[in-house]
Amino acid sequence: MAKLLIVDDELPINRLVCKNLTLVGHECIPAYDGVQALSLIKSEQPDLIILDVMLPGISGFEIMKLLNSVPVIFVTAKTGLDDRIKGLALGADDYIVKPFEMAELTARVQAVLRRTKRDADTFSFDDITVDFSSRNVYKNGALAVLTPKEFSLLELLINNRNLALSREKILEKVWEYDYCGDTRTVDVHVQQLRHKLGIKDRIKTVFKVGYRFEI
């Protein structure tokens, strides 16, 4: 869907981020140092850059200063508040600290893309179209009635498609952090979603893990 440039000098991490973001439907281009990143930004015109701060050659902050209008999510191992402020002051759209969870990264990528209108507002599969801006779902062109929580759940599953989400993660993301409910709530909502949209084959139950939206 969107074209992402992944800048990280650590081969394992770069590959990991690429693999995950490719699975959820983005096109990923890896870059391993600052110079390579700058030339790829010019030639590939990415929609979003995921930028490590500590890079050999040119640092992430310096790359940031040379950029204009391309959204950036900083990834860094530094936890200092100073760095965080510096990153955001330079115009970064978001900031994520290592080690991070994949669902966290995909959520932030999706949020930045949607905020900067770099990603499509709708997502279609089978006979279903999901409109993220109006929060409506159409099945065969007819409006399907979903509760707000069901829609949020569907949105989360689509944004993390092909990746399994634990029930706890789903609770945290859809019902917010402070919800003290049972993970059975998630099961009930998933059943409702499968039933209302007829997508039992798409939302798979992954044994001992959770649910995965497959496409």
Partner: protein, 461 residues
């Protein structure tokens, strides 16, 4: 910018001056007045004596019968000369041109009296063998006028002098205080955290000396602050680096585990992910081991024994020989049988690290030599390679924790970035230094120098 001290000094000096000046002026005025009065008195006395002399002669000549005429003649004559006379015979006043209100002083005395706002000098004397008392009086009011004039001159003079002195004193004191004011503003700046300000210290008085001492103090303080800042920066940097080095493998381990768990991926990719997890765990293990070694040396020091450098070098080389060969590097050892006092396990770590670095520097093609170089009472243990070498800039930093000459490559080869920092610590714990000589493109020689205990080449034991 005025200060209390300045004001106080100014006021005290000025008031003291005023007091002394006015006392002096007053004394001078009184003295002058006294002098002119005395002068007037002596003039009058002389005048009176000459009158009495003349009168006595004439009296003798004319006799007592025509005394009345004589008195009138004298009185009238001297009246024209501004002198009043009075003659008293047996208590009866004869001729008199002196006002009745002026008292007659005792005989043979001189007095000064005031009458009708005028000042008179009055003298009386018995003449003609006591037959007549002659009283003399002269108006000396000019003395009062003179005194008033004198007072005006002195008061206006002292006023003018005070004004001039006030102004001059102000400027002189200002000038004297200027160095103190400047010193104060410099200390104020330093107190506010600007440590690069210095006070003016020209001249050789106490204030300049104080300024000089102050500058020396400021120099020391700023140097110490710079040093502290440098140390703090380096520690912060080290901590940041450590966080980065720990978090990077953690991120990979967590991420790949999550990936295996949640993504629908083929078996092959699963194995790949597991391999990443294993290699990143090893990296974490390496870092923690080096940190532990480092902490151990710091806490417990070293446990030195007499060891042979030859034995140490051969054991380490034998262990690493195959691995080096597998990476295209020929490892050779030409160490001599020299004994030094060292901690063998730590020396093994040091030597292994140096050999490891040397093998990496060769980039798959070259030789690494471990050897000893003897001088009279020291021995140098060196590791020499024919690798890529380093620049002077790189040499400066290589023993800093997490410094890498080639970051991405070093990581790919499994380096922690802590090896040389540990080697440096081991060398320092042995009371020696880790030294590097390097030339770009030619190779590097790393060495530590020990004091020789004895060697089996020249002595038998």
């Amino acid at each position: 910018m005025r200060m209390k001290f300045f004001e106080r000094t100014y006021l005290i000096t000025f008031v003291l001056f005023l007091v002394f000046l006015n006392v002096a002026v007053f004394a001078l005025a009184m003295y002058t007045f006294h002098n002119s009065t005395e002068a007037a008195k002596s003039v009058c006395l002389t005048e009176f004596l000459s009158i009495t002399d003349a009168f006595e002669k004439d009296y003798e000549y004319t006799g007592a019968q025509s005394a009345g005429l004589l008195q009138a003649t004298y009185g009238k004559f001297y009246k024209g000369k501004n002198i009043s006379l009075k003659f008293i015979t047996d208590g009866n006043v004869g001729y008199s041109s002196i006002s009745e209100s002026i008292p007659v002083p005792a005989e043979n005395t001189l007095s000064m009296t005031r009458n009708d706002g005028k000042r008179y000098i009055v003298i009386s004397k018995d003449v003609c063998e006591g037959a007549v008392t002659m009283v003399y009086s002269k108006d000396v009011s000019y003395l009062d006028k003179e005194f008033t004039r004198l007072c005006i001159v002195f008061v206006s003079g002292s006023l003018a002098a005070s004004l001039v002195l006030g102004a001059v004193l102000y400027f002189i004191l200002r000038k004297l205080y200027l160095p103190i004011v400047k010193l104060r503003s410099a200390t104020g700046d330093i107190a506010n955290g600007n440590f690069y300000v210095r006070a003016e210290d020209k001249g050789d008085d106490e204030v300049s000396a104080l300024a000089r001492d102050f500058n020396i103090m400021a120099d020391k303080v700023s140097r110490q602050i710079a040093q502290l800042k440098d140390t703090a920066d380096r520690k912060q940097n080290m901590l940041d680096n450590l966080a980065h080095e720990m978090r990077t493998p953690l991120t990979a381990i967590h991420g790949y585990a999550e990936y295996i768990c949640s993504a629908k991926i083929p078996e092959e990719e699963r194995v790949d992910a597991a391999k990443y997890i294993m290699s990143e765990s090893m990296r974490l293990k390496d870092i923690s081991e080096i940190l532990l070694d480092s902490a151990f040396i710091r806490e417990n020091g070293i446990n030195p024994k007499d060891i042979s450098l030859r034995g140490l070098a051969y054991r380490t080389c034998n262990r690493l020989y195959k691995e080096a060969l597998g990476r295209g590097v020929l490892l050779s050892c030409i160490a001599e049988d020299v004994f030094v006092s060292a901690d063998e396990p730590l020396m093994d770590i040091l030597l292994s690290n140096l050999i490891e670095n040397a093998v990496k520097a060769c980039k798959g093609n070259g030789t690494v030599t471990v050897g000893t170089k003897l001088t009279e009472n020291t021995v140098k243990l060196y590791v020499k390679d024919t690798g890529i070498g380093m620049t002077q800039e790189q040499l400066l930093h290589i023993t800093e924790p997490f410094y890498r000459t080639d970051k991405s490559r070093s990581r790919a080869q499994g380096g922690t970035g802590l090896g040389l920092a540990l080697c440096k610590r081991i060398a320092e714990a042995h009371g020696t230094n880790l030294e590097f000589v390097s030339e770009e493109g030619k190779g590097t020689e790393a060495s530590v120098t020990f004091t020789t205990l004895y060697n089996n080449l020249t002595t038998d034991r």
